[in-house]
């Protein structure tokens, strides 16, 4: 490879990506960070107010509620998607009859328009008209405020996100599973390895790149969950189910506090980066 790695080639092949990315992603982020130090309604000229927005944020009760909710969702989805999707992918990768068909169907939640996801899940989770409570009641179990109450909403949102992302994540895992040479697997079978041993000592180590890809996608994805919340609870009742993104969205657009909204968005961005960094470091130190 060394022979082809001329400076000219390297730079020439990186430039288009770097230019587009810098203009349409990094520059806008810079602008957002700039606005986070201003008071601005989106109309006219912004007033520079220094770090006042950041000070306000630390005293803002709703910010902490949405922070807590986001972390709950992250914890639940990290566990569910990393583990459950991994085993589901292994299952679907077996050449079972109808597996391809099932894969397409399992993927379908990911492409349903968010507004519909909201409508459908409200009919499932709604405390009064939802099916879930109806089913629970009919088998004699207590019903709960799955959404619309103070406690369970973030868990319900995490579950909906899990449902929506399952197909996506499985697709990535399967792409990775396809890269494991079949003869390695066959050899292990001949050697008499059990299913568990095969997964633990062959598949799992060989899937490490996909696993960390998925981990990063899940972490960053959770920090972008938006439509599900907007459509099921709209952050309510009274901001109790707000996440960092929905809160910064409603601040920016409903309340027209563009400066404070961008401050919330900046913090969200930074928190998500920090968590990704912690994860990457943890994985790397384990590998060393």
């Amino acid at each position: 490879m060394y022979w082809l790695s001329k400076k000219r080639n390297i730079i020439g092949m990186l430039i288009p990506t770097l230019v587009i990315y810098t203009i349409f992603i990094i520059l806008p982020i810079g602008m957002a960070v700039f606005y986070s130090f201003t008071k601005y309604s989106g109309i006219g000229k912004p007033d520079f107010i220094g770090a006042a927005n950041y000070i306000r944020l630390f005293k803002d009760h709703i910010f902490w509620v949405s922070f807590k909710n986001t972390i709950i969702i992250l914890a639940v989805d990290f566990a569910l998607l990393m583990v459950a999707a991994f085993f589901a992918a292994i299952l679907l990768n077996n050449r079972l009859i109808g597996a391809n068909f099932c894969k397409a169907l399992i993927f379908s939640p990911a492409i349903i328009a968010p507004i519909i996801v909201g409508i459908i899940w409200v009919y499932i989770l709604d405390p009064k008209i939802g099916i879930l409570n109806a089913v629970l009641k009919s088998i004699g179990l207590p019903s709960h405020l799955w959404i619309g109450g103070p406690v369970l909403s973030p868990y319900s949102i995490a579950f909906i996100y899990f449902w929506q992302q399952l197909g996506y994540i499985i697709t990535i895992y399967i792409a990775g599973l396809k890269m494991i040479p079949t003869d390695v697997i066959e050899a292990s079978t001949i050697d008499g390895a059990s299913d568990w041993q095969r997964i633990r000592y062959i598949i799992f180590p060989m899937m490490k790149p996909q696993i960390s890809t998925v981990a990063i996608l899940v972490i960053t994805g959770v920090f972008k969950i938006f439509e599900i919340v907007q459509q099921t609870t709209n952050g309510g009742p009274n901001h109790m189910s707000e996440t960092l993104v929905t809160y910064s969205y409603s601040t920016t657009f409903s309340r027209s506090e563009y400066g404070y909204g961008m401050c919330l968005a900046t913090i969200t961005f930074v928190v998500s980066l920090i968590i990704v960094a912690i994860y990457s470091r943890a994985v790397r130190s384990k590998e060393d």
Binding site: M13, Y21, P28, A32, L96, W163
Partner: protein
């Protein structure tokens, strides 16, 4: 892999359970699309009394579907073409070329940053940048879509390309390949699973994307499919039937598309020339 029949049936059963879990709301939505608006809101659980196509008729008469499909398709093709070429090249550099490691990981980190950004933060700034660059009409969407795909594509492409054995490159070069030949004749054919994955994800993202579309497009003749649903929700009225029907009109091509491309993932490397 040789497995006992009993185990296979347990696995098949499990697969069916997962499928039902995933598909149930979707099936339900199709059912809802045949019900009137009030029925949807008041009796969401009941089966439709008869097959009522009025939601679809309504959607078809309100929206100009050939145009919506055409616009969405065009934006999709252009964005995908640019992003695939551009991000494949840069990921190839990051994954397989040799240069200063520090710079390499710096560039990689820089490109991955964007994963954490929620698109609505970009809306206002990106609009202003597009105006400054004098991009107008539906093409305004192309660069934002390409740009938002870069982080994700870099993550997947480099992850995959790094795993292809280094000997391939050497063998190809010894056979007299130049860089262009190496990429197009050797690496791309071997990257089918990851290309398919990326195509699926990004096409679906673009197909469904609403926030950018709603801010960047002004002319109804430029509208994309995802804006269809907004035609059925006003401040004082909502037509769930219309929303659902228009969403199904949007989803059907996606499912077909996914069916086709996921087969590419499945075929993947199995017949490939290289085994690790």
């Amino acid at each position: 892999m040789v497995q006992s029949g009993k185990k296979r049936s347990v696995m098949t059963l499990l697969m069916i359970v997962i499928t039902i879990f995933a598909v149930f709301p979707f099936a339900w939505m199709i059912m809802l699309s045949f019900k009137g608006n009030n029925d949807i809101m008041l009796h969401p659980l009941s089966f439709p009394k008869s097959l009522d196509f009025s939601n679809y008729k309504n959607a078809l008469s309100t929206l100009n579907y050939p145009q919506l499909y055409g616009n969405t398709f065009l934006i999709c093709i252009i964005s995908m073409a640019i992003e695939l070429v551009v991000t494949f090249m840069s990921s190839f550099v990051l994954a397989r070329m040799t240069f200063n490691r520090k710079i390499k990981s710096l560039v990689y980190g820089y490109l991955i940053l964007g994963l954490s950004i929620s698109p609505f933060i970009l809306l206002f700034p990106v609009y202003r940048i597009s105006v400054l660059l004098h991009i107008s009409g539906k093409l305004r969407l192309v660069f934002p879509y390409v740009a938002t795909s870069i982080s994700f594509n870099t993550l997947l492409f480099t992850g995959y390309l790094k795993k292809l054995p280094a000997e391939i490159d050497e063998a190809a070069i010894i056979d007299g390949c130049n860089l262009f030949d190496l990429i197009t004749k050797v690496i791309i054919p071997m990257s089918k699973p990851v290309i398919a994955t990326i195509v699926i994800f990004n096409v679906l993202y673009i197909w469904n994307e609403y926030p950018f579309a709603s801010v960047m497009l002004r002319d109804v003749t430029d509208y994309t499919l995802s804006m269809g649903a907004s035609f059925f929700k006003g401040k004082y009225s909502v037509d769930y039937g219309g929303i659902i029907a228009s969403s199904i009109m949007m989803i059907v091509p996606e499912l077909i598309f996914y069916g086709i491309f996921q087969r590419n993932i499945v075929e993947g490397m199995t017949a490939g020339a290289v085994k690790g």
